[in-house]
Amino acid sequence: MPRIGVFVCQCGNNIAATVDTKKVAEEMGKLPGVVYTCDYKFMCSSPGQEMLRQAIKENKLDGIIVSACSPHMHEKTFRKAAEGAGLNPYQCEITNIREQCSWVHHDKTKAAGTVKSIDLTRMTIQRLKKNQPLKKIKIPVKKKAMVIGGGIAGIQAALDIAEGGREVILVEKEPSIGGNMARLSETFPTMDCSQCILTPKMVEAELNENITLYTYSEVEKVDGYIGNFTVTVRRKSKYVDEERCTGCGECIEKCPFKVDSQFELGLNKRKVIYTPFPQSVPNVPVIDAPNCTKIQKDKCGACAIVCGPKCIDFKMEDKLVTEEVGAIVVATGYQNMPNERFGEYGYGRIKDVISGMQFERLASSSGPTGGEIRRPSDGKIPQSVVFIQCVGSRDEKKGVSYCSKICCMYTAKHTKLYSHKVHGGQSYVFYMDIRSGGKRYEEFVRGAIEHEGAMYLRGRVSRVYEKNGKIMVQGADTLSGNQVEIEADMVVLATAVVSRDGADTLAQRLGIGYDKYKFYNEYHPKLKPVETVTAGIYLAGTCMGPMDIPESVAQGSAAASKVLALFSADEMAREPITSVVNRTTCNACWDCVTACPYTAIEREAIKDRQGNVVRWVAKVNDGVCQGCGVCVAACRSKSIDLKGYTDEQVFAAINAF
């Protein structure tokens, strides 16, 4: 016979006003197996908890019910108190008689509330009788992390994890880390030179003993679960031995072929053997195989001839490496919406219509013009520049419905850079609204308008066309109500921030969610901004949606702190609410395998002594199982049960209805 104790909380007057707690306790005392009942003013208070512990010890209780507030409120409190008295915490159950009873049934005669409380408590008692003591699951944790994406968010995450004393593998798709930030000229609102603040961090990441850089590499496959991921990374062939290369650059100099530079967004050429930009980390060139005549046609090979350390190998192949890590930070960043979609602004048709990112390159002192603003068509200095904001953003028809958040600020920055570099030049900005929320952001935009002469026009541009060597920009100024036509030498489009190509594929490999724009979903938009639904995988930066550099950096650090917290113990304790298979009755139909949203169920072979497979059964991986119970309801042979919510427990509650 079980020895159950029932504790009915009055919660001051919160429950007692509409529930006769004394009567509930008395009624429960009549049930078989219930050996102790009481009602008390505040069960959650220290004296209340002490009373609970005393009662457990004195009455040798093997299970307790606390009829009080929602389990979401104090289940943990009471389970901890029960554990303090030597009871298995999962032998403590809560009946919700406040949020779902006393607070919603205002009957002052207490009739309805009392009856309902009695019913609910009785159901919980019968359920409790079927409870099994459970133990928290301990999962060993591999104290090594992987960061996917070597932009500023990823670099920050990797550095913070490394500084916390843990090993990190930083995986970057491009030949160099740095990401989008490496392209920027100056950054708002401080006008710091982007390279000057970024490159030291890149070098730090390269030199840190705890960080392994995998550049020119992509994540191919992810297996496992929190604490125990196995990640396969494809290390694309660079055709240059990273270990031996000294980064002298002789090969780049001697390479006779030039193609458009992706890093410079087509504004400049690069060699076929190249580093994306002069400050690349690692400073190891790669060969662009599709354009290399040696690799394609076995002609040339100039780079190999001049290479001192002989580190060029035209036969090099991609390598697949497998890494075991305990946590993954995803920081894959963003790209700009292709401008080709906006024919009305003349992009692709008119050479001097460029994107904001291309303007960054023109303004950058390491860019194709050495920091002088010169138009791409003829290299002349533009005397008037029109900036068009919200190109694709906040435009459900042609682009995306969201605001790209950073464009208002970088356009203001562009007008400032332009006025600093081209004295006497006039800039015009077509905007919808100016969104400059952020520390010193509004002042920055006001400065551009009031002190640096940028002409802001509220309205949209309808047409951009060429006339007598000028770019004519037609638009509306909705504040004055006039149509305007501006003769410009150059037009800059603030194109929308969108997710990376292939973001969905990576999400599927990782088992994390993404929205309709393929931005990754955080676990909770307010309270868990860097976690994902998949335990052990964290997010940082613009792979989640548009954000600026400070936010990306903050998120990189936040994700790193989550990783370090996870790594702080050798084992991770988890709630033991997981599914368990009855191996004797499982008939291997695999319905559970198909139903499981977490791929937590594996196929296990049962072998005889000779090692021959006798039959197959399902096996639940406790590390991956999240305890939803979908498999339990899917099982045809009733061979899976969910600990904490077993069929027996649920039926006992229903039968006590």
């Binding site: 607070w103 509330g113 999240q626 939803c628 979908v630 339990v632 969910l642 229903i654």
Partner: protein, 156 residues
């Protein structure tokens, strides 16, 4: 062990008993919110909390009727909002098949309700309970199944 407290509301007369199977993350939290917002609804519902609507075995519903429920309610996260990504889709699919079976068995489908109530939809929860209670009250006690358990016990 069925205790089934017979009770009458202050106004007297027949009061139906309704069993609700709800998920822990959306509807249970929504019902909690109704409480913290001090809303009021009919006291006829008894909630059984499950991690996810995907955990619901159709037998739970049959057992509820067998134990004297006059109506059964199932509610979980909205499609696409499942805490476990896809659990409620499983529940929905299972529900469609199960509904036909229940209809075939001659159960009045007005006694069975399926809804989505999110953690913020306290008002929807309140309206739902009131609506379902009133509907089932109008239908009267569900006698067909109530007898079943007794017969079974006699034979067994």
């Amino acid at each position: 062990m069925s205790g089934h407290t017979e009770h009458s509301a202050p106004t007297g007369g027949y009061e139906p008993k309704i069993m609700a199977f709800v998920c822990n993350w959306c509807t249970y939290a929504g019902a909690d919110l109704a409480g913290t917002s001090r809303m009021e609804y009919r006291p006829n519902v008894r909630i059984i909390k499950l991690p996810c609507t995907g955990r619901i075995d159709p037998l739970f519903i049959i057992k509820a009727f067998e134990n004297g429920a006059d109506g059964v309610l199932v509610s979980g996260c909205h499609p696409g909002d499942c805490h476990y990504t896809t659990g409620n889709y499983h529940a929905r699919r299972r529900w469609i098949g199960f509904k036909h079976l229940m209809e075939f068995a001659g159960i009045d489908m007005r006694r069975l309700h399926f809804s989505w109530v999110s953690a913020s939809e306290a008002i929807k929860w309140v309206d739902l309970i009131n609506k379902v209670t009133d509907e089932i009250k109008a239908l009267g006690p569900f006698m067909e199944y109530k007898g079943l358990k007794a017969t079974e016990a006699e034979q067994g």
